[in-house]
């Protein structure tokens, strides 16, 4: 049976599933309920300076009938008194000594940092997370992402914290920066024991077409918020990969960004995360999703023969290279399984209008199953992605697997194409129809104009 126990830079928890610092960790009440449900850890909603929140705080990006595939918020750090939070931290730790309670912090001066670090340590917190990520409300006051975007400032504050901290320190990074490894390296240089990422992405979630006010609407006005939810997962995975592959970062990582089910969590772990943090999915479905997260990950680990999280953590990292190190000789083409094909022709129109004109239709209108024109197919995957039938369009290998040549190899050998006519140039092999052929194409009878 898989062992889900996790140790992130000395912070131990019964499983890798933590609640991210956010509304679900606003109170001891919520965190006790979460631990009771099965969550392994919780990062307390950020403690710091007094704030005032606005009314109307969230906005949602829906896709068709799916709600909250993206989510943004303009809520600030906790507005509850520090002493209440500290008392509740003690109470939770007393009741759940083996679960991880991490205090998220955000203050300004060195003295404030020293004081609050001591406070949460005395309350019994297992670790500290420095909130250098919040992209709204706090950054205007020189905190949150304003710190995360300045590696030097970030490093200084980490150093202040480490001057007094006896428990592990995690630095939470903002994705609102072009190279995530710079603040990550600065965190390590300042002595941070771990990093966590990503915080929310600066966003405008959408505009109301009647009021012309983006959401959330605060008395007829809005502001940029922080974007999160399933839609941000690919951005989070990329930044996680960048930090996990960077030897100068080299400290444990808690992964955050769009985790909703065990599959998402497994992906974060495969790219190097030791624990994963969840917020939006809980705000949508409640703490009960932990049952799927735990049982799903356990089953996956058992099936793959992984006994602990460490057995597969980072296993996908060697498989992500720079583009220039990919094999130019590898060649796949699409293959349509006509027994499975349902004749929607989405692959046809996607390839015809959106890619490389490598799919043809039968001249017999009764035969709706398209055919790949293999000599035009560049192996882009688009048809297999739009196909609504599982495993109907597959990408089949056509090279013999014996040759391996990368752009990097070519660069090193000085073997790069100099002109477009050069046989080495890729475009030479890319067939396109003549422009006027577009107008001669047979259109469906209902296409007007």
């Amino acid at each position: 049976m898989a062992d889900l126990r996790t140790n992130l830079a000395g912070i131990k928890s019964p499983n890798p599933f933590w609640l991210a610092s956010a509304p679900p960790t606003n109170s001891g009440y919520q965190i006790m309920k979460a631990f009771d449900a099965g969550w392994g850890g919780a990062v307390w909603k950020t403690l710091g300076v007094p704030v005032v929140n606005v009314s109307s705080r969230y906005g949602s990006l829906n896709y068709r009938d799916n709600r909250m595939m993206g989510f943004n918020n303009i809520e600030l750090i906790t507005d509850r008194p520090l002493k209440d939070n500290l008392r509740e931290i003690s109470e939770v730790k007393k009741r759940f000594p083996d679960h991880a309670v991490i205090a998220s912090l955000m203050v300004e001066t060195r003295e404030e940092w020293h004081n609050i670090v001591r406070d949460v340590e005395n309350a019994g917190a297992d670790g500290i997370e420095l909130n250098f990520g919040c992209p709204h409300g706090m950054c205007e006051r020189g905190m949150g992402s304003a710190v995360g975007q300045e590696p030097k400032v970030l490093q200084t504050i980490v150093e202040w914290v480490k001057e007094v901290a006896k428990i592990p320190v995690i630095t939470k990074l903002t994705p609102n920066i072009s190279d995530i490894t710079r603040p990550a390296r600065a965190a390590r240089a300042g002595g941070s024991d771990a990093i966590s990422l990503i915080n929310t992405i600066q966003s405008v979630i959408g505009v109301d077409l009647d009021t012309f006010v983006p959401s959330p609407n605060v008395d007829g006005k809005s502001t940029n918020g922080g974007y999160c939810g399933p839609a941000v997962k690919p951005i989070a995975l990329n930044m996680l990969k960048n930090c996990a592959q960077d030897k100068q970062v080299g400290i444990p990582i808690s992964g955050i960004g769009g985790v909703e089910n065990w599959r998402d969590a497994a992906e974060f772990i495969l790219l190097g995360a030791t624990s994963v943090q969840v917020c939006t999915a809980v705000m949508h479905f409640g703490f009960g999703i932990i049952r799927d997260l735990k049982t799903g990950l356990e089953r996956y680990m058992d099936e793959k023969g992984f006994k602990t999280i460490e057995d597969f953590r980072g296993k996908a990292l060697p498989n992500i290279l720079h583009w220039e190190d990919l094999n130019l000789k590898y060649k796949v083409v699409a293959d349509i399984n006509k027994d499975k094909c349902i004749g929607c022709q989405l692959c046809y129109t996607a390839c015809e209008d959106g890619a490389h004109q490598a799919i043809s239709l039968s001249s017999d209108p009764a035969d709706r199953k398209p055919t790949i024109i293999e000599e035009n197919c560049v192996g882009c995957n688009l048809c297999s992605i739009v196909c609504p039938v599982e495993d109907c369009i597959t990408m089949e290998r056509r090279d013999d697997g014996k040759q391996h040549l990368t752009w990097g190899d070519r660069t090193r050998e000085g073997n790069l194409p100099k002109t477009f006519d050069d046989p080495l140039a890729g475009g030479l092999h890319h067939w396109v129809p003549e422009p006027a052929e577009a107008l001669a194409k047979v259109k469906p009878r209902h296409y007007k104009g």
């Binding site: 068709r64 349902i342 004749g343 022709q345 989405l346 046809y348 129109t349 209902h446």
Partner: protein
């Protein structure tokens, strides 16, 4: 269908290329487009997409045999996934604009031409709308008191209510401004000659006539009525019409099934659908018979009807069992039986209005067809023009009796035929 259900259902549509549902629709409605318009909260746009192809959009959304047409063609069927509920989505979109009374169309520039339409059924109304789009003036002459033909008088009310059918016609009339003269039957040669004098072209959309007679002894007994007439009466009287305790429906068509389903619903103790061949050979769609069976109707197959028994009132029908041999039906000697009943509904098909149509000079009717059902149909060319150049026709009178959607499709083409004829 609520807005929420429409939103969920429209979210499922795959937006197929050159979608099979479009090609399965006789009027070729761009179904994936209107579903996408519903999904993006552009319901007016959705309704416009529907009406551009089919002026009976709301009626069709309700009465179309979608399992056989658009929904039957949905690619989800090949994946064993429930097809998109196209009919209900269509009715949802059109219902919205009909209730909001929002004008979606503008009539064409006045051409100064006038067209008379005989019959305010699906064919007549569709032709009227299309002709108004082309700028021609239209007067419709309707024998009955309400428009919409069989939509009001002939299909089972669970499919479409009278109010819904009439509201759609009123909605269309409001934006197209054609005139409908109700209770004005065209009855003979003199009437047609008057129309010929007063109008530049005439469109015939008179459908079919009443239920054909059986040609067996005793069918004049009390309690024997046509299935269509039965449906008409219950529709006009909101089901406050008598139904027998034991009902026998003779026939295997869709009207027979409607009559059987409605009899069950109105409280008949037993309803038997008697058909001379096997169930798979019935003209009715499978789902129509299934619906009747769910209501409690039973099928008795491979029986030939004989005499209708009784004194003044019907007491039963004599049948003889038969078997099919070499495509022909052969009676099985000695297998006669009498099925008792107190009501017989004749689902034996509608007759053609041959006598009326023969009053128009120069039109040709199908007489020689080997298919009995085809005899008496009006003969038209590909522009739905009859042998008398001034007369055009579409719908049941031409096709022998199919669906509302066929009438709508044909009438639209006929309107363009008239337009071309008038431009010559």
């Amino acid at each position: 269908m609520t807005d929420t259900e429409a939103y969920y259902e429209s979210s499922r549509c795959l937006y197929c290329y050159d979608a099979p549902c479009i090609n399965a629709c006789p009027t070729g409605i761009d179904i994936p487009l209107f579903i996408r318009q519903i999904n993006s909260d552009n319901k007016d746009g959705a309704a416009k997409t529907i009406y551009e192809s089919n002026w009976m959009g709301h009626a069709c959304g309700n009465v179309c045999p979608t399992e056989e047409l658009c929904e039957g063609a949905c690619v989800y069927n090949h994946q064993d996934v429930k097809p998109i509920e196209i009919g209900r989505l269509q009715a949802h979109a059109t219902d919205r604009v009909i209730r909001s009374k929002k004008k979606l169309f503008r009539t064409g520039k006045d051409t100064g031409k006038k067209i008379a339409i005989v019959g305010a059924g699906p064919a007549g109304i569709s032709a009227a709308c299309e002709l108004r789009m082309l700028g021609h003036a239209v007067d419709i002459y309707e024998a009955k008191a309400k428009p919409s033909g069989l939509c009001v008088y002939g299909v089972a009310p669970y499919k479409l209510t009278n109010e819904e059918a009439v509201d759609e016609v009123n909605y269309l009339q409001e934006q197209f401004g054609f005139n409908v003269h109700y209770n004005k039957p065209i009855t003979g040669r003199a009437d047609f000659e008057k129309l010929e004098k007063g109008y530049d072209a005439i469109f015939i959309g008179i459908g079919l006539g009443g239920t054909s007679s059986l040609g067996v002894p005793g069918e004049d007994k009390q309690g024997v009525i046509g299935a269509l007439e039965f449906v008409e009466e219950l529709r006009m009287k909101q089901q406050k019409t008598p139904v027998g305790k034991k009902v026998i429906v003779l026939g295997g068509g869709n009207t027979a099934m409607d009559a059987a389903s409605e009899s069950c619903r109105m409280g008949a103790e037993s309803v038997i659908v008697a058909y001379r061949r096997g169930p798979e050979e019935m003209g009715a769609y499978g789902f129509e018979f299934d619906l009747g069976k769910k209501g409690g109707a039973e099928g008795v197959f491979n029986v030939t009807r004989g005499e209708v028994m009784g004194d003044k009132a019907v007491k039963g029908v004599k049948f003889i069992r038969n078997k099919a041999a070499y495509g022909k039906i052969e009676a099985i000697p000695g297998s006669e039986f009498v099925e008792p009943c107190d009501m017989v509904l004749l689902g034996t098909g509608q007759g053609k209005q041959v006598e009326l149509l023969e009053q128009i000079s120069g039109v040709k009717l199908e007489h020689k067809s080997r298919i009995l059902d085809d005899r008496g149909r009006l003969v038209v060319n590909e522009h739905f023009q009859t042998n008398n150049a001034k007369y055009f026709a579409a719908g049941d009178a031409v096709n022998g009796g199919v669906e509302v959607v066929n009438a709508a499709a044909e009438a639209k083409k006929a309107a363009h035929g008239i337009d071309q004829y008038l431009k010559k």
